[in-house]
Structure formats: C-alpha cells, structure tokens
C-alpha cells in the first residue's frame, strides 16, 4: 500500500529538495521564497528580510556540543553578519536534519550543473523504484490484490501469477510475441463465450481494454489497474474488427 502512495507522490514532480520547498511554493505573497536550483529570476536575493542569520546560527549551534563550544567565534560572526537577506530558511521538516538554511547562490555550483544533477537524481530514483503496482480485482472475489507488473516479462507470466492468486481463469493462448492473434476469430470468440474469466485493464486514458492487444512493454506503461471479468461480460471489449466479424457471422 505504501508503495502505491509513493508512486502518487513521485508523480507530482521532480523536486527532490524536499517537501518543505513544495509547501513554500504557494506562498506567493510572502517574502519567503526559495532560491531553487537554476530557478532563474525567482531566487536572486530579492526576497526574505525576515528570518535572521542569528536564528539559523542558533539552530546550528544546537546540533552538537562541539559547535557550541565555538560560540565565541560564531557570536562575533552573528553580530557582524546581520545579513538577513540571503538566508532562506527551510521550514523544519522532521524527516530532514534541522536548520540548514538554503543560502542563495551557495554552494557555488553552476546552476547548469545543479539542474542536471537534480534531474538525474530524480529520474534515477524513479527508474530504480519504478515498480508498476496496479490493483487487481476479480468479479466475485471478496477483496482486491496488487501486483507489480515489472516483476513479469510477458503476458504468460502475468497470467500464471494471476491464476495462482485468483484460482481458475485463463488469458487464453498468446500468439507470437505475446499478442493475441486477432485474425483467429473463432479462438477469440470461444474464449469470450465460455465461462472462463478474462483479464481486462484500464489504460492511461481511462478506457477498459482487453489484456493482450499490445506488446508487453507498452502494456506495462499504460496499465493503471486490472479487472478480471467474466468472459461473457468481456465481449463488449473485443476490438472493433472482431465486432465487425461478429456482425457479419
């Protein structure tokens, strides 16, 4: 369940800096805006007169006893540096180490580099955690299951796994490359007409489709949830070509 939630959040954007920054983005009117990496005009020291450097330093001093013994030097720094402008505080996010203020233009890394590393980090996190968990429901079953589509390499694998999970149903014979052979009308009609269950899925556009039409990889990308329907109910999902054939015969 948690993984599902994670996927939802990741979809929200590649802002890897942290939840606190996302929250701040709504505060258009206040001076508290953050110097986002390569964020162009938004972060250039024009804002934030509120939070004092001293407060930030205090918070830092609380982190360890070692630092607090250096208080003299830091205190001088505090007196001299009442520079409130360039320190953009991060609202304390309990998940993160507290009180590291984001300073505009610090560390001195080219914004190009900052942007590239941020994007790369975002996408590599995505691809390594990109489990494609989808809910699976079966007509008549008392509860749903979840499967990670990336655990399987083909429709047959998925079919086997679902069969184990839900008892008896079948995806039917898969043609070469794991795609149904739609020219074999009779096969498909048999499948749909008998009482076996047939897997269907909801795609990115919200349409309910018959599983097996498209290459496996494409299916994994576009599948949002699975529903195992009774074969008789699934007839309405057959491709139009088949319907034409049905009408003819």
């Amino acid at each position: 369940m948690e993984v599902g939630l994670k996927m939802g959040m990741k979809g929200g954007g590649l802002n890897h800096v942290g939840g606190c920054e996302k929250a701040k983005m709504g505060f258009a009117e206040t001076e508290l805006r953050l110097g986002l990496p390569g964020g162009g005009g938004s972060g250039e020291g024009e804002v934030v007169r509120k939070r004092g450097f001293s407060e930030t330093v205090d918070l830092k001093l609380n982190l360890s006893s070692k630092e607090s013994s250096g208080m003299d030097a830091n205190d001088e720094k505090v007196k001299v540096l009442h520079k409130e402008k360039n320190l953009l505080p991060c609202a304390t996010d309990p998940a993160k180490p507290p009180a590291k203020a984001q300073v505009v233009g610090w560390p001195p890394v080219r914004s190009f580099r900052k942007n590239v590393l941020a994007t790369q980090k975002g996408s590599s996190e995505e691809s390594s955690e990109k489990a494609a968990f989808v809910k699976v429901s079966m007509d008549g079953a008392p509860y749903l299951r979840k499967v990670d589509l990336r655990m399987y390499n083909s429709y047959q694998d998925l079919s086997d796994a679902l069969a184990k999970m839900f008892g008896s149903f079948t995806i039917g014979n898969c043609g070469s490359q794991g795609m149904k052979d739609f020219m074999n009308e009779s096969k498909l009609m048999d499948l749909l007409n008998d009482s076996d269950y047939v897997p269907t899925y909801e795609d990115k556009d919200g349409d309910w489709m018959l599983v097996g039409d498209v290459p496996w990889e494409m299916f994994v990308e576009s599948c949002k949830r699975l529903r195992i329907m009774k074969g008789t109910e699934a007839i309405g999902l057959a491709p139009r070509a088949m319907e034409k054939c049905k009408n003819r015969s």
């Binding site: 250039e44 804002v47 250096g70 030097a73 560390p107 890394v109 580099r113 941020a118 790369q120």
Partner: protein
C-alpha cells in the same frame, strides 16, 4: 629597434602569442604599436563592456579569433539577474558590417540569441570555430543556422549552456558537403537528436578528433559511432546503459580496443555501472577523465576505474568517491595536475562525502598538483598546512566548505592559519577561493604573501574593513575581486580608488557599502563604470545611507553602457 623595417618585425611578433605579451609589445613605441595591431589575429576581451565593437574593429583589422566574456562570475550562481546584459548581437552586427574575416568566436557567460547565431553563420565565409561556455538565450534553431551555413566549420563546442531545445532537427542541417568537423560537443543539450543524421555526420568527418554526446544518444548509437571514428582523441559518451548480454555491447568492446588515441573521456550521463569494465582498455592512456556528471556510478566502481588510469593529469569527479577513494587516486595518479571534486548533492549541505582527509592524501600522493576545486564537508588548519607543504605549486586553489562559516572542527578556530600557509607556500598562486570561518587575519596573510594573485573570491568572511584593505594594498597583481556577504564597507571601498583602474572588475554583494559610498567612487573615477543591481526596488536613489545589495564595477574605455536594464543603475 626602430631600425628594423616592419617586414622584419612582423614575423618576429608572430612568435609572440600570449595576449599579455602582445599587449606589452604594443606599449613599447608607436611603430611597435602599429606593427603589432596589424599583425594581431587573436584578441581576448575579458569584460565585453570594457570596450566596444567599433574600437576592436578599428584597431585590429586582421582579427580572426575573438574571445568575449560577459556576465560577472557570480552570475553562474544565480546572483545576477538574467537580463543584466552581456549581449552578443551588437558585436556580430558590427563585425558583419566590417571587413573582418572572423574565423573563431569563443564566448563565456554571454547572452546569445538565435538571430546573432544566424547573422554570424551568414556573415563570415571562413568561419571555423564556435565555443560557447555557460551562455544562454539561444535555441537549437540557432545551432541549425550554424550547421547549415558555415561551410568550413571545424569546431562546435557547447559547454554547460542553457539551450532551449527544439528537438533533433539541427544536426540534419549539416550539409552532405560538410566534412571538415574536428570537434563536436553537444553534451549540454537536453533534447532528442536525429541519430541517423549524427551517424552519417560522423561517418563523413575523417578529421573528427573530439566528440561529446548528450544524454539522448543511446548506447547502440555510441557503439556505431566508435566503429566509425577510431581516430578520436576525446570522447564524451551520452547514455551508457548497455545490455551486457547484447551483441552491441560486444561490438563496443572491440570498437574500444581500436580507439587507441583516446586521451580524454567524459559523459556517462546515465550509466549501467556493471559495464564500466569495457572502458578499462583505454584507461591506461587517459590524461583527462571527467565523471562529474555521472552520479549513477558508485564510489567503488569509480575507484576501480581510476585504478587503471595511471597517466591521468586532470580528474573531475563527484564527492561520492569519498576520502578512501581519493586515497586510491593519490596512489595511482602520480601525474595528476588538476583535481575537481564536485558535490553530488549541491543542495544537501552537510552531506558531502569528502573531508580534509581526502585532500591530505591527494597532496601527499600527487606532488604535481597545481589546480584544485574541492567541495567538502569540513577542513582543518592542520590539513591545509600539510597540503601547503606537500604541494607548493598551486596556481589555482579553490576550496568550498559546504557550510560557509564552518570553523576548524578540531580546534574550533577560524581557518586563517590554514589558508595563510597556502598563500605563503604557493608563491605562484594566481587564483584563490576561500570558505569556512575566516577573520581579518587571513586577509593579512593574503596581502603579505599572495603576490601573484590575480583572482580572489570571498564569501562570508572577515570582520572589518581592514580585511579588504589588506588585500587591496598587498595584492599588486589583483585583477578580479568578488566578495559576498562580508562586512566590508565604504572605508575599504574608497581608500584607494585608483586601484580599480588596475583591475578588470570588483563585485560586492550583501556587504556594507552604501549607495553614497558608491556614488562617491563613481564621481572620483570617471574611467570606471559603477553599477548598482537593484532588484528589490526598495532602494530610492536619494537614500545614500542604504547599503547596496549588489555592486559591480569595472574599468572601461567607453563610458556607461547603453543596454542596461531598468534595475541596473549606473552611477
């Protein structure tokens, strides 16, 4: 000297190639000035606003190669608004109207529009080389114009530019007749590339020596390109995510074996870490390795790779290598001259994986080290003193402790003594960047010892005007000084106003200088342009007592620039 006819002096001057020497030659006497200016082919303009295109064209009619720099250095870190200035177009416009046969253009931190690229591509028949570093303002349409119109193009080198990518089509604009390419670097482009066009281009470029791909170029294409271009000296891979069981991977392994000339390697923007062993055969001859955009490797794989690179002279990496990994570098790379360690996570202040220990190991193992850029978690005076002893040859020393005012964690003292040791020991030091907790004392040392220092970057340092004064008084060769968030005010700024005429520029932001102080300076020194960058719009021109957010001043021959945006006041 005047007894020699011009024809004799000209070939003598041809041997004088460095800009500084050429400038000195031109000052000797009128006839030398004249001969030098007619024979000068390469001109370097470190601040595009210090002069104007007309003066350039009038003085150097034989100009072939122009280098221009625009925005101040701190623009790289978002401290300068985008539309501050540094526009290329007026230069191209003026050069196009003249008789100048421009062949090479090298730009840094300039705003380059598609119009200027198009005009450039159409105005100079023999144009050969375009190098853009940290520029912005153009799209791939501008690149398409360059590709299509520059018939003898040898070099197109794009480094870390912000390019609006309209996807793919520009590479196809190189005509079939274009076979002159020597260097092609588009690693910074974010969009898709026409892979077929790229393959054909490489296939018809027998002189291609340097090729750096962007992330959109997949492994399969890389393998094909290497088969076509075994003569490469410099390779930047795009995406390096092979399927280890594939035929393509096997073909790459043999293609790599044939690339016996590769001395420089970069890229790996996406990487399958288990396949780095295919690269080992070329490691033995590498002199430059840049893996600073390859966060996908781990410290172990990186270290394993480096162990094969015994001839490395320049190494750019990310800090996940760790102190231990730096130890491996130290014991392997005895020829190392330049090391750059970038933060893997620039915003995760305090999570850097390297400390003073790694630097000490490097200094002990690499005596030829002369250039350093080091982002680290912490630094100690003791470490810096050791480094100074081990490596007296530093020309460039840039240390960035991620927490900007962190003291020596062992003694809790400022890092004055450590940096003091560096400047005392490294008599040839030309460039220095400071960080960590620093008092005025460090500036006393810099003023005393850093006699060759040309560029100094200061952030969150010092206690009083004394600090800045030590530097201005002591560093006779100072050309560029950039200061942020430090308590230097009018007294320091105004003590020796003549000094700024001997420098290229001074940047001060979030310091204590006031508007009144800047006005005074501008009045006294008409040869300087004193700019106030005033984004907050809270400043009123009459309030002399207000401290100034950002001040940038530079010497100029041509007075105040006319293209400044509204938020820039030129006093």
């Amino acid at each position: 000297m005047n007894y020699f006819p011009d024809e004799v002096l000209e070939p003598v001057f041809d041997f004088i190639t460095s800009h500084k020497d050429r400038n000195s030659v031109s000052l000797v006497c009128k006839s030398w000035f004249k001969i030098e200016r007619y024979s000068r082919q390469r001109v370097f303009i470190g601040n595009c606003y210090s002069t104007c295109p007309e003066r350039l064209i009038a003085r150097f009619p034989g100009l072939k190669s122009l280098t221009l720099k625009g925005k101040p250095h701190f623009a790289d870190f978002n401290l300068v608004p985008h539309d501050w200035g540094g526009f290329l177009y007026p230069w191209i416009e003026a050069l196009a109207k003249s008789r100048i046969g421009l062949e090479e253009l090298r730009l840094k931190r300039m705003v380059v529009s598609d119009e200027s690229l198009e005009l450039l591509s159409k105005s100079f028949v023999n144009f050969k080389s375009l190098v853009l570093v940290s520029c912005e303002g153009f799209t791939t349409d501008g690149l398409a114009a360059i590709a299509a119109n520059c018939r003898f193009l040898r070099e197109l080198d794009l480094q870390e530019n912000e390019v609006d990518d309209h996807r793919g089509h520009w590479l196809s604009c190189f005509p079939e007749s274009c076979t002159s390419l020597v260097s092609l670097n588009f690693a910074c482009l974010k969009g898709e590339i026409n892979l077929g066009a790229l393959e054909r281009l490489v296939a018809r470029s027998p002189n291609l020596k340097s090729l750096r791909l962007n992330r959109a170029v997949p492994f399969d294409t890389l393998e094909k390109l290497l088969m076509q271009a075994p003569q490469l000296l410099d390779l930047g891979t795009g995406s390096y995510v092979p399927d280890p069981s594939s035929e393509a991977y096997n073909r790459l392994k043999s293609a790599i074996q044939r690339c016996k000339s590769i001395r420089s390697l970069s890229g790996f923007l996406e990487v399958n870490p288990r396949c780095m062993s295919a690269i080992y055969p070329i490691c033995a001859n590498l002199t430059f390795l840049n893996l600073s955009y390859a966060p996908g490797l781990s410290g172990n794989e990186l270290t394993k790779l480096i162990q094969h690179c015994r001839k490395l002279q320049r190494l750019w990496i990310l800090d996940y290598i760790g102190d231990k990994g730096l130890g491996v570098v130290a014991s392997t790379c005895k020829e190392l001259q330049e090391l750059r360690v970038f933060p893997t996570d620039p915003l995760g202040a305090g999570n850097a994986a390297v400390t003073e220990e790694g630097l000490v190991l490097i200094s002990a193992g690499c005596p030829k080290l002369n250039s350093l850029l080091y982002f680290c978690q912490q630094m100690t005076n003791a470490a810096l003193i050791t480094v100074a002893k081990n490596c007296p040859n530093f020309i460039c020393f840039r240390l960035c402790i991620l927490d900007p005012i962190k003291p020596d964690p062992v003694t809790n003292r400022p890092l004055d003594e450590g940096f003091g040791a560096i400047v005392e020991s490294c008599e040839g030091l030309k460039r220095l960047s400071l960080s960590g907790l620093l008092s005025d004392q460090v500036f006393l040392y810099i003023g005393m010892y850093a006699k060759q220092l040309e560029m100094l970057s200061i952030a969150f340092a010092g206690d009083s005007d004394e600090g800045m004064l030590y530097v201005l008084n002591g560093c006779k060769k100072l050309r560029k000084l950039e200061i942020r968030d430090s308590p230097f005010g009018n007294a320091a700024l105004l003590e020796d106003v003549g000094k700024y005429e001997t420098m290229r520029s001074l940047w001060m932001s979030s310091c204590e200088v006031t508007l009144g102080g800047c006005k005074t300076l501008a009045e006294k020194m008409p040869s300087l342009s004193v700019e106030i960058i005033n984004e907050s719009q809270q400043m009123e021109f009459s309030l002399d007592d207000r401290t100034v957010d950002k001040m940038y001043l530079y010497r100029t021959l041509v007075g105040h620039r006319k293209d400044a945006p509204e938020f820039v006041w030129i006093l």
